[in-house]
Symmetry: C2
Subunit: 239 residues, 2 copies
DNA sequence: CGCATTTTTGACAGCTATCAAAGACCGTGG
DNA sequence: CCACGGTCTTTGATAGCTGTCAAAAATGCG
């Protein structure tokens, strides 16, 4: 499923077959992780990056009273920690939100790759800047959207991102998040997530059962969320 | 005051004098802006970046009902929109939060600079990744910290960032934000910001008058905020 | 000195949190 | 194939943090 990665890149710029081959060659190994596993701990030194192939991961931080906030979700095709290449250590944990499979790319292979293909340096720089754009949209959600719109917005975002990765089936996609985990993304309690979910269902906007989310009325869901996909930069142009 | 920029860079890595000279040579002109001015509008094509020299700017988004959320504050020494170099257009507005002065750096000068100094490419990549790290911490604040801790955290962050830029005077710094603008950073209403500010004052943690913030008890303020500066990456090491 | 903006106050509403417990669901093992 | 234990979802009652609305007081700029 590393194809998801190239779909993601090629949604934003041309990637030559030489570049693709070089990227593929940076993968040192593949690893599998169980659900709810801490892949990288805040503060730890990083010498490799993790390209997610299957499953979902998240970036999370914890406060002293145990409250956890997830600041971004990674889906197949995403690097969960490419920012670690320049930061050297992370300011957050990386955790699995389902069982996962990932390709491991050592930093000492990324460096020569980017030297050889300066274009890829800009493309991957852009990918981390898109992460930041997603963070900004989450900031807007947490700061200004009420629970219903906030949840609707998250479902819209994931729909678009998964579609780019080729992981949307009709109007639905696998969403492995528990309501507890959803609440940690949305800055709510699990109880309130449950009630908000019911309200979205009651209005005929979504279905959500056995870890599969179905969007019944995308235009309405987007309108409630005030969702505009511009922050996902779905334009193919020279970077 | 472009020195603030080099102080910021040199807090994270060595910058040679050749690199410094090359960076200085990329500046095409300087501009001044009045308070509350929109420097760049969401969606607009960018062909230059803005290096803030004096004053504060912010990145903001607006919802249809007029609610505004500021997702990050830029202080002197920061590029407000370096991510525009790879993104080509922005997903947010850039607005002044005071009168400002800035150096304008055309993108067609950045490209050759980074080709000539690949090290600077990594350094500036890192700077945008630090922006993302700040976004993540704001996400944690908005999602999980109550008003008091959230505000305390913002004051701590700005204290550290301004200190790096050489703009802290003892225990105080110029903070041009109105309570309305503070509320737009913190995801609160202006009224509640006012009350929260009073509570911080009542506890003897800060003073805040005539646009100057004084921290009276930094350790306590940090502890209320659960502030840990690790996400600001104040370590000098090869990037 | 005077108007506009910003800060402050008070009363009240409401969204979301808290606490506790019942019901569903699910993978595991017999 | 069914029982079993744990996790996840759902529900109900109540609390409380933060929002809303309106107006007075203070501040600041021209």
């Amino acid at each position: 499923m590393i194809e998801a990665h190239f779909k993601k890149l090629r949604a934003r710029d041309e990637i030559s077959s030489a570049e693709e081959a070089a990227i593929r060659a940076t993968v040192a190994e593949e690893r599998e992780y169980r659900d709810n596993f801490t892949v990288a701990r805040r503060g730890a030194e990083l010498s490799e990056s993790t390209l997610l192939l299957e499953g979902w991961m998240g970036r999370s931080k914890i406060l002293s009273d145990g409250q956890r906030q997830i600041s971004e979700i990674s889906v197949p095709g995403d690097f969960t920690d490419l920012h670690g290449f320049t930061l050297k250590r992370l300011d957050h944990d990386v955790v699995t939100l389902s069982r996962c499979r990932a390709a491991i790319v050592p930093h000492d292979r990324i460096r020569p790759l980017l030297d050889r293909f300066p274009h890829l340096a800009r493309v991957y720089w852009m990918m981390t800047n898109m992460d930041a754009a997603i963070h900004r949209e989450w900031t807007l959600s947490l700061g200004r959207r009420a629970a219903l719109g906030r949840m609707a917005h998250l479902f819209c975002e994931l729909f678009v991102r998964l579609k780019v990765a080729g992981l949307v089936d009709g109007q639905s996609y696998q969403c492995p998040l528990s309501q507890q985990e959803l609440s940690e993304c949305l800055g709510l309690t699990a109880v309130h997530v449950n009630r908000t979910l019911q309200e979205l269902r009651r209005r005929g906007l979504i279905e959500f059962q056995s870890r599969r989310l179905t969007i019944l009325d995308l235009p309405l869901l987007q309108s409630i969320a005030e969702f505009d996909a511009d922050y996902l930069y779905l334009e193919k142009r020279p970077r």
